[in-house]
C-alpha cells in the first residue's frame, strides 16, 4: 500500500519521529514475540498523547485503513503482527504513570508503562501490582490488557482481569469509552471484562487503572522432587484439597529440570522425574503454618522436600524456573512454546499423550507447568534450519492443543490466539459461537478495521479445516455431506 495522502496527514498530525516508514525503520516492528510470523508494516506510528491516538484513528477511519495496535511486542501469538496495508499503532511512547493514589491503592497508567515499572514505582509505599508475566520487564500494561496476562502468581492473585479496575478505550468510530474506575462495581454491561484479552480487536486502550496490593510480609519457597511424574500431579491437587492457596505452584518435567539446572545452577535434582516449586506468602504465622502442611503433603506423595533457607535461597530456586525458557536455547536451536490449559486432574494423561506425540513427530518436548492454575507450556524443540522442522513443530503444537481441548481445557491460557491459534479455535468453538464472537466485535468496531483477521477465525477458514473438527461431540457443518 502506498497511500500518500494518508501518510501526509499522519506526518502533519504527529511529530516527525513518530511516523516511521521505509524498510529499515519499520523492520523492528515486523514481528512480535512469535518470531516465526512476520510482516512488514506499511507505516508505524508512535503517538505520544491520547489526542494523537484519536487523530490517527480519525485519519484511518476516513481512508478506511486497518489499524493494528502494538505494545512492547512481547506477545507470543502474533496478535501484533502488522499488516502490509495497515497502520501499526505502537503505544510505547505513552509510558507515563499518571497517578498513584495511596488512599485508593490504585495506579493510573498510560498503556505503554511496563508491567514491572508499576511495582517498582510503588514499592516504597509497601505496595505492588500482582500479575507478573515472565516478560514483565518489557511487556506493557496495555498489552497485558489485550492478552489478559497472568504470570506465576495468578492462582492466588488472579489475572489481569482481576487486577485492572478501569480503562479508557478509543474506538475506531472515534468514541472514548470510560469503563470501570475506582469503584468496585460499574453500572450496565461489564464492558471492562470484555476488553480483557480482546487482543486489540475492539478498541485502543489509552489509559489503565490497576489496583495495588500490600506487599506480603512473609514468603517462603518449597522444592519437592519426585521420582514419578504422576505423584507430582497428585500432590498439586492434594495441596489445594488441604485448603491451601499457594502464591505460586510450578511444575517442571525432567527435560526442563536438566535444561534449567545446566543454565541456572538452581540446585534442582537432575534425576527427578518432576519437581514442584511452591511459594507461600502472607503473614509470618500463616506462612510458617502452611509451609509445615505443604511439606507434609509433598512428603506423603513421595517427594524429597527442601525448604528455602533464606531469601537468597528462595531466589535461587525460582531462578531455575524463570530460566526454563532461555535454557531451552542451549538444548535446541529453536523452540516453540505452547500454551494450553487443562484441568489439573488430567495432567498425567495429557503429559503422557504429549510424550507419545513427541515420539511420533520425532521432536523433543519439555514441559513447564503453572500447576496451580492448570496452564501447561510444552516447549517443542526443533531446528528451523532443517527443512520441514518448523512445519513439523507447528503440526505437533496443533496436536498438543487438541489434546488440551479433549481433556476439557483450552487452546490458550495466557498467550492469546493472535494469528497462531486461529486454526485451533475452530476445534474449540463451533460456527454459532464463532459467529457470536464476530457479532460482539462488530458492536465495538462495525467497520472491522481494528486488528482484522486476528483472534477469531472466519467461518470459511474453519470450514476449510472442517474435516478435522468435532466439537464436543457435535460434527460441524451438519448440513454438508461427508464422504
Amino acid at each position: 500500500m502506498s497511500n500518500p495522502k494518508v501518510l501526509a496527514r499522519l506526518r502533519a498530525a504527529l511529530p516527525a519521529a513518530s511516523v516511521l516508514t521505509g524498510e529499515h525503520a519499520v523492520r523492528p516492528f515486523e514481528t512480535d514475540g512469535l518470531t516465526a510470523i512476520r510482516e512488514t508494516p506499511w507505516v508505524v506510528v508512535l503517538p505520544e498523547t491520547v489526542e494523537q491516538v484519536r487523530t490517527v484513528l480519525a485519519i484511518c477511519r476516513e481512508h478506511r485503513v486497518p489499524v493494528v495496535t502494538r505494545g512492547a511486542g512481547t506477545g507470543l501469538s502474533g496478535g501484533a503482527r502488522p499488516l502490509k496495508d495497515g497502520v501499526l499503532l505502537t503505544l510505547t511512547k505513552m509510558n507515563r504513570i499518571k497517578e498513584v493514589d495511596l488512599d485508593a491503592c490504585t495506579a493510573t497508567l498510560e498503556p505503554g508503562v511496563t508491567n514491572l515499572a508499576i511495582s517498582e514505582a510503588v514499592r516504597e509505599h509497601g505496595l505492588y501490582y500482582a500479575p507478573d508475566p515472565s516478560s514483565q520487564l518489557a511487556c506493557s500494561i496495555g498489552g497485558n490488557v489485550a492478552e489478559n496476562s497472568g504470570g506465576v502468581h495468578c492462582l492466588k492473585y488472579g489475572l489481569t482481569v482481576h487486577n485492572v479496575i478501569g480503562l479508557k478505550v478509543e474506538t475506531f468510530e472515534g468514541d472514548e469509552l470510560v469503563l470501570g474506575g475506582k469503584t468496585l462495581e460499574s453500572p450496565g454491561l461489564d464492558l471492562l471484562a470484555i476488553m480483557m484479552g480482546s487482543e486489540g480487536m475492539l478498541g485502543v486502550v489509552t489509559e489503565v487503572t490497576v489496583k495495588l496490593l500490600p506487599l506480603p510480609v512473609a514468603k517462603t519457597v518449597l522444592l519437592g522432587s519426585f521420582g514419578v511424574l504422576e505423584d507430582a500431579g497428585r500432590a498439586v491437587g492434594a495441596i489445594i484439597a488441604e485448603g491451601i492457596i499457594p502464591a505460586g505452584l510450578e511444575m517442571m518435567d525432567n527435560p526442563s529440570i536438566r535444561a534449567a539446572e545446566d543454565f541456572a545452577d538452581a540446585g534442582y535434582p537432575r534425576e527427578a522425574a518432576a519437581i514442584l516449586l511452591c511459594e507461600l506468602d502472607g503473614t509470618a504465622e500463616e506462612v510458617a503454618a502452611d509451609a509445615h502442611r505443604v511439606q507434609a503433603v509433598l512428603a506423603s506423595h513421595g517427594a524429597d522436600v527442601r525448604l528455602a533457607t533464606d531469601a537468597a535461597d528462595q531466589e535461587r530456586l525460582w531462578k531455575g524456573r524463570k530460566a526454563a525458557f532461555p535454557a531451552m536455547g542451549r538444548l535446541s536451536p529453536d523452540y516453540y512454546c505452547m500454551d494450553g490449559t487443562i484441568p489439573r486432574a488430567k495432567l498425567a494423561e495429557v503429559l503422557n499423550g504429549i510424550g507419545e506425540l513427541s515420539e511420533e513427530f520425532g521432536l523433543r518436548v519439555a514441559n513447564v507447568f503453572h500447576a496451580g492454575d492448570g496452564n501447561l507450556h510444552p516447549l517443542i524443540l526443533f531446528d528451523a534450519n532443517v527443512p520441514g522442522q518448523l512445519e513439523r513443530a507447528e503440526d505437533l503444537g496443533d496436536r498438543i492443543l487438541r489434546l488440551c481441548v479433549d481433556a476439557g481445557g483450552t487452546v490458550t491460557g495466557e498467550h492469546g490466539v493472535g494469528v497462531e491459534k486461529l486454526n485451533t479455535m475452530c476445534v474449540q468453538f463451533n460456527d454459532e459461537e464463532l459467529a457470536q464472537f464476530h457479532a460482539l466485535k462488530a458492536a465495538f468496531d462495525p467497520d472491522g478495521l481494528m486488528n482484522p483477521g486476528k483472534a477469531v477465525p472466519t467461518l470459511a477458514r474453519c470450514s476449510e479445516l472442517g474435516g478435522m473438527r468435532v466439537h464436543q461431540g457435535r460434527v460441524p457443518h451438519p448440513e454438508l455431506e461427508r464422504f
Binding site: A104, T183, D290, T341, E433, Q436, A443, V456
Partner: protein, 338 residues
C-alpha cells in the same frame, strides 16, 4: 429431550414469533424490579451440580441450582463461593446470582461474581446453545462472554449452566467491633487497606464498625493483636447484611439507594450502612450527594432500578449494539435497561 433443550426450543420459537420472555429463577430478587415478558421462562427445573472436583477449585452447575444446595455441597468439602451472593428470603439460584451480579460482604477481598466465573453455557436470543470459557482458571480463547453475562440481568441470553471458581473456607474467622462514628470508620478502613491484614469484610452502621478477619488460627490471632481489637461482634451480621435481613434494610421502608464509592474516598453519612472497606454504602436517602467518580442506584418496589449519573452515550451505544448482537429480536427481559 432435557430441560435445556426445552429452553432452547422455547427461545427459538419466541425469536421466530418476535415475542418476549421474562427469565426467572427463584424470583427472589424483587429488589431489581419486576420483569416483563409475554411469557415466563423458568430455570427452576434446570437444577443440579454437573461437576465438582474440590481439588480443581471449580464447580459446574445448572443455572437453576439453588444457592442453598450449592453452598451446602461446597461446605461438605470446606469450600465456598468466593463472591458469597445474597440469598434474599433464603432463596436464589446460581443463574440468578450471575445475572444480577450482586456480590456479598467479602467482595473487595475475595472478588466479585464476575471475577469467579470461568465459563457458561447460554441460549442466545436466536435460540442457539453456545458455550464460552470453560472450567479452567486461565483461558483467553475468544472474547470473555462468560463474564459479560454477569450483571447483564438476562438481557443477552439465558444462562443454562456455569462453571465458577471456589475457594477453601478459612480455618478461623473472627468478627470484631469498634465503637466509632462514620468518619473514624472511614479512616480506619483506609488505613487497614494499606496493610497486609487478613480482612474479609467490614460494615459500619449506627456508630459501630464491624470487621471480619479470616485465615489460619495463628494468622487471625496475630492480626487481632496487631489491630489491638478485642471486642467481639456477631458473626451472623455478615449474612444478614448480605441478604438484606439486617434491621437497617427493614427500616429503609421500601426504597433504598446503593452508593458505589471510589476506593479511598471519604464518605461519612451517619444514616448509611457502609461496607466493602468503604466502597459500598446503602442509604435511605435517594438524593444523597455522590463523591467524584461514584454512582448511585436506587431500588424501589415495583420499579426498575435507576442509576445516576446515567451512562454516557458512547457506552450506551456499544451496550445497545451488544444487546442486538446477542438478542436481535428482543426476546429477553424487555424493559431491563442496559
Amino acid at each position: 429431550m432435557d430441560e435445556a433443550d426445552r429452553i432452547q426450543i422455547a427461545v427459538a420459537e419466541c425469536h421466530r414469533l418476535s415475542s418476549s420472555l421474562a427469565i426467572v429463577g427463584h424470583g427472589s430478587k424483587a429488589l431489581l424490579g419486576p420483569l416483563r415478558g409475554e411469557d415466563t421462562l423458568s430455570t427452576q427445573s434446570l437444577s443440579g451440580i454437573l461437576d465438582y472436583r474440590p481439588e480443581e477449585l471449580v464447580v459446574t452447575a445448572w443455572a437453576g441450582t439453588s444457592l442453598g444446595e450449592l453452598t451446602e455441597v461446597l461446605a461438605e468439602k470446606r469450600q465456598m463461593l468466593p463472591f458469597d451472593p445474597p440469598r434474599f428470603d433464603g432463596a436464589g439460584t446460581l443463574g440468578g446470582a450471575l445475572a444480577s451480579g450482586l456480590s456479598g460482604p467479602a467482595r473487595p477481598w475475595r472478588g466479585s461474581v464476575r471475577d469467579a466465573v470461568l465459563g457458561v453455557e447460554i441460549v442466545n436470543g436466536r435460540g442457539q446453545r453456545l458455550r464460552f470459557g470453560g472450567s479452567v482458571m486461565k483461558n483467553v480463547a475468544g472474547y470473555d462472554v462468560s463474564r459479560l453475562m454477569v450483571g447483564a440481568r438476562g438481557m443477552l441470553g439465558v444462562i443454562l449452566s456455569a462453571s465458577v471458581r471456589v475457594l477453601p473456607m478459612p480455618a478461623t474467622e473472627a468478627t470484631l467491633a469498634v465503637a466509632c462514628d462514620a468518619g473514624e470508620a472511614g479512616r480506619l478502613v483506609r488505613h487497614w487497606a494499606r496493610r497486609p491484614l487478613p480482612i474479609t469484610a467490614t460494615c459500619y452502621c449506627q456508630n459501630t464498625l464491624h470487621l471480619r478477619l479470616s485465615g489460619s488460627a495463628a494468622g487471625v490471632a496475630s492480626a487481632r493483636s496487631a489491630l489491638g481489637l478485642h471486642e467481639g461482634g456477631d458473626p451472623l451480621l455478615w449474612a444478614a447484611v448480605r441478604d438484606h435481613a439486617h434491621p437497617f434494610f427493614a427500616d429503609s421502608a421500601g426504597s433504598v439507594t446503593r452508593v458505589s464509592l471510589p476506593r479511598g474516598s471519604r464518605f461519612d453519612a451517619e444514616d448509611a450502612l457502609i461496607e466493602w472497606g468503604g466502597c459500598q454504602a446503602w442509604s435511605p436517602d435517594g438524593s444523597i450527594e455522590l463523591p467524584d467518580g461514584g454512582f448511585a442506584t436506587t431500588f424501589a418496589p415495583g420499579r426498575q432500578p435507576s442509576t445516576r449519573p446515567v451512562p454516557d452515550a458512547a457506552t450506551a451505544k456499544v451496550a445497545a449494539r451488544l444487546k442486538d448482537a446477542f438478542d436481535p429480536s428482543g426476546v429477553f427481559n424487555p424493559g431491563v435497561e442496559h
